[in-house]
């Protein structure tokens, strides 16, 4: 399986073989997807994942102090250790109705793409490898990562990589969507929150929403559109009462850590200036931060993954950045973030994934694992 033509030929046949195991794949997806898992409250999903690990006969099943679940599928030789991880949390609260709807061609429900599908791959992969009679020479470490989104700041994956008791040859992070992504690098980025508190119209103070509006105008003048995501905004309580508080959540990206630090300094200055002129309390807080870096586009892992996608008839998606890739890079581990299928309405209650591409997504995952197992990251 070490030569590319052989690997590609083998991988191209996998989707049809995997379709025969559709119920196993979808059942794990449904059972995981219906367990609420807001960031910092992933325990129920982690428990389910550990139960699946145990049922699959994996070794070293357990969880760590930050709430990750991990287990090992021993390789026939065990000279390498390949990590496959997926974040367990979703952006939806536990109070959200997590009932999924399953149709022949798609699955609908909150968090189904981000990242119930990715986590279900971690639960299902051992059984699929067994069904397909694929035995890796390398040890396969499967990990459900806690505390990834927002304030979680990828804490689960970072902790695991920093504290792994075995050297990790390469790492894959699985996201539900989109099939074709090959994220091998990370821009320098921060998730940040700008909060504002005012007297709510008393004592001549402005509405907190108006103050935030000033901040937004200044941000847009300072930062290029492609480097700033105005993610969410909330504030106030009623139509006729000026808002006493408001909050803006943003993401900032730069191509180097130095540029990002300089940008943060500039934003601090803007916030201080707006606070001084408005009399409001305005605060800028960095919630999560990732460093720039990653693999070269010509790295063998990237090239192998790209050619595997092509052999499956999937066009690799342009764009290479993911914050998870920075976690691998920070530890000097070759790492990729890949997607499993096509999805729509991401992070909306009617989040949706397509079922048919899932089989190619899993074939891709297995193909990349076999490439690493064949030594492409040595």
């Amino acid at each position: 399986m070490q030569s590319n033509p052989g690997l590609h030929k083998f991988v191209s046949r996998l989707p049809s073989a995997l379709e025969g195991h559709r119920e196993i794949i979808l059942a794990n997806l449904v059972m995981i997807g219906e367990i609420p898992a807001p960031t910092f409250h992933e325990q129920a999903r982690i428990d389910f994942l550990q139960q699946r690990f145990t049922e699959s006969g994996l070794h070293n099943v357990g969880s760590d102090e930050v709430g990750n679940a991990a287990a090992v599928l021993p390789g026939t030789e065990g000279h390498r250790n390949i990590l496959v991880s997926a974040h367990a949390d979703t952006p939806f609260s536990a109070a959200t109705e997590h009932t999924l709807s399953l149709y022949p061609e798609r699955v609908i429900g909150p968090g189904i793409a981000d990242n119930s599908l990715g986590l279900s791959m971690i639960a299902t992969l051992p059984m699929l490898l067994e069904f397909l009679d694929i035995r890796l020479r390398s040890n396969l470490i499967l990990m459900g990562a806690s505390r990834s989104l927002g304030r979680g700041d990828l804490a689960g994956l970072r902790f695991f990589l920093a504290n792994s008791s075995v050297p990790i040859t390469a790492g894959l992070s699985i996201e539900g969507v989109q099939l074709g992504r090959l994220d091998y690098a990370s821009q320098a980025s921060v998730d940040a929150e700008i909060t504002c508190r005012t007297g709510g119209g008393e004592g001549g103070q402005s509405s907190a929403v108006l103050v935030l509006n000033h901040v937004i105008q200044r941000l847009c003048e300072l930062v290029r559109t492609q480097d700033l995501v105005l993610g969410s905004i909330e504030g106030g309580t009623a139509f006729k009462t000026p808002a006493r508080s408001a909050a803006l959540r943003i993401e900032l990206q730069q191509d180097s850590n130095e540029k990002l630090s300089a940008l943060i300094t500039d934003i601090d200055a803007i916030v201080e200036d707006v606070a001084a002129h408005s009399g409001a309390q305005v605060r800028f807080e960095v919630i999560a931060r990732s460093n720039a870096g990653g693999l070269d586009p010509q790295h063998p892992l990237v090239e192998q993954a790209r050619s595997i996608l092509t052999s499956l008839g999937v066009e690799p998606i342009q764009g290479c950045y993911s914050t998870a890739a920075s976690c691998f890079n920070d530890q000097g581990i070759p790492g990729l973030v890949i997607g499993v299928t096509k999805g729509h309405h991401l992070n909306q209650p009617d989040e949706e994934i397509e079922i048919e591409p899932v089989f190619r997504g899993i074939a891709q995952l297995i193909g990349v694992l076999m490439a690493i197992d064949g030594g492409c990251c040595d």
């Binding site: 119920e23 059942a27 794990n28 022949p104």
Partner: protein, 326 residues
């Protein structure tokens, strides 16, 4: 009369008691049993796919407990049949089974025809509108029949007794159960009040019993099953399993009225059959409800005296005061 508290201890289960599916499958195979799952449907396209995938994956592929998964449809006009077939169920139109017997409209019709169509020594019926479907909805009901030969009929109920370790909580069914069925049972079949949710649509039954039960085709099917099973085989033949929570669509009050009407119809038919109407016994004043305490199920007896005053005009003092003379 069977001691209800004793029955609650011996014949009331929690699905977690049956977590060892490997052992359950071994026991099933040792007994040579064939198990069928029947899902009656009518326009259930949103939930049927999920149910089938979970049951097939967990209870056919992973643990071969079920030998047959069948959908029996009452004439859906949405994609129910297409979705069910796509996920590997044996799909039947109710009208195509025993066509010479004609066709009636109602869930009971599907359940009845399933006895003819399916192969199982045990048939487990699971409604198709369960949003939080889980394999326990089948194995939690089947397991008591496999482990306890004397049990013939296992009914589901839904609670979360493991969520609290101390204290007392009321336990009960839906609106129709609490304001119609339980008071009726308290009056006429007190032992059946031990069934926490007599109207739940999930139950597993041995063929030897099913084939001897008459089937109201509408809302009265669950009530009549319990009365008939109890009358013929006693409370010892019945068990119930707590399946934790069940999320399903709420029914509007108007539909509950239809349900109550159907239940009353089945109920009075049985009162007539058992000659209870013509020789009405003295009505008890005890209403039986249920609660959990420290993970045990207990009955709670309420004495409700519904004495009747005669018409005021018959009261001498009233007649005297009002100057009424004969």
């Amino acid at each position: 009369m069977t001691d209800i508290d004793s029955w609650l201890r011996s014949n009331t289960f929690h699905h977690s008691q049956f977590w060892d599916l490997k052992r359950l499958v071994e026991e099933k195979e040792k007994q040579g049993l064939i198990l069928s799952l029947c899902i009656p449907t009518l326009n259930e396209e949103k939930t049927i796919g999920k149910e089938l995938v979970l049951f097939k994956s967990e209870l056919v592929d992973r643990y071969p407990l079920l030998d047959e998964i069948a959908v029996i449809d009452s004439g859906s006009t949405d994609r129910t049949l297409e979705v069910a077939a796509a996920f590997g169920a044996d799909v039947y139109r109710s009208t195509d089974i025993l066509p010479d017997m004609g066709s009636r409209r109602g869930k009971g019709e599907n359940l009845w025809k399933a006895i003819y169509q399916l192969r199982g020594d045990i048939i487990v019926y699971v409604d198709a509108d369960i949003k939080n479907i889980h394999p326990r909805f089948a194995y939690g009901l089947i397991a008591p029949l496999i482990y306890r030969p004397e049990i013939k009929y296992v009914k589901a109920f839904y609670d979360r007794p493991l969520a609290t370790s101390k204290g007392t909580r009321p336990l009960g069914g839906g609106r129709v159960t609490e304001i119609l069925v339980r008071p009726l049972f308290s009056l006429f079949f007190p032992e059946l009040t031990a069934l926490v949710q007599p109207l739940s649509g999930e139950y597993a039954v041995r063929r030897e019993l099913l084939e001897r039960l008459p089937f109201p085709i509408g809302y009265g099917v669950e009530t009549s099953h319990l009365i008939d099973t109890y009358s013929e085989w006693g409370l010892e033949a019945i068990a119930q399993t707590d399946l934790d929570s069940r999320v399903h669509r709420n029914q509007p009050t108007r539909d509950l009225g239809k349900m109550a009407f159907g239940i009353l119809h089945a109920f009075f038919t049985r009162l007539h059959k058992h000659d209870i109407l013509s020789s009405l016994p003295e009505l008890t004043s005890m209403l039986r409800q249920f609660q959990t305490r420290d993970n045990e199920y207990q009955q709670v007896l309420f004495e409700i005296r519904e004495e009747e005053r005669r018409p005021m005009i018959e009261v001498p003092a009233y007649r005297e005061k009002r100057g009424i003379v004969d």
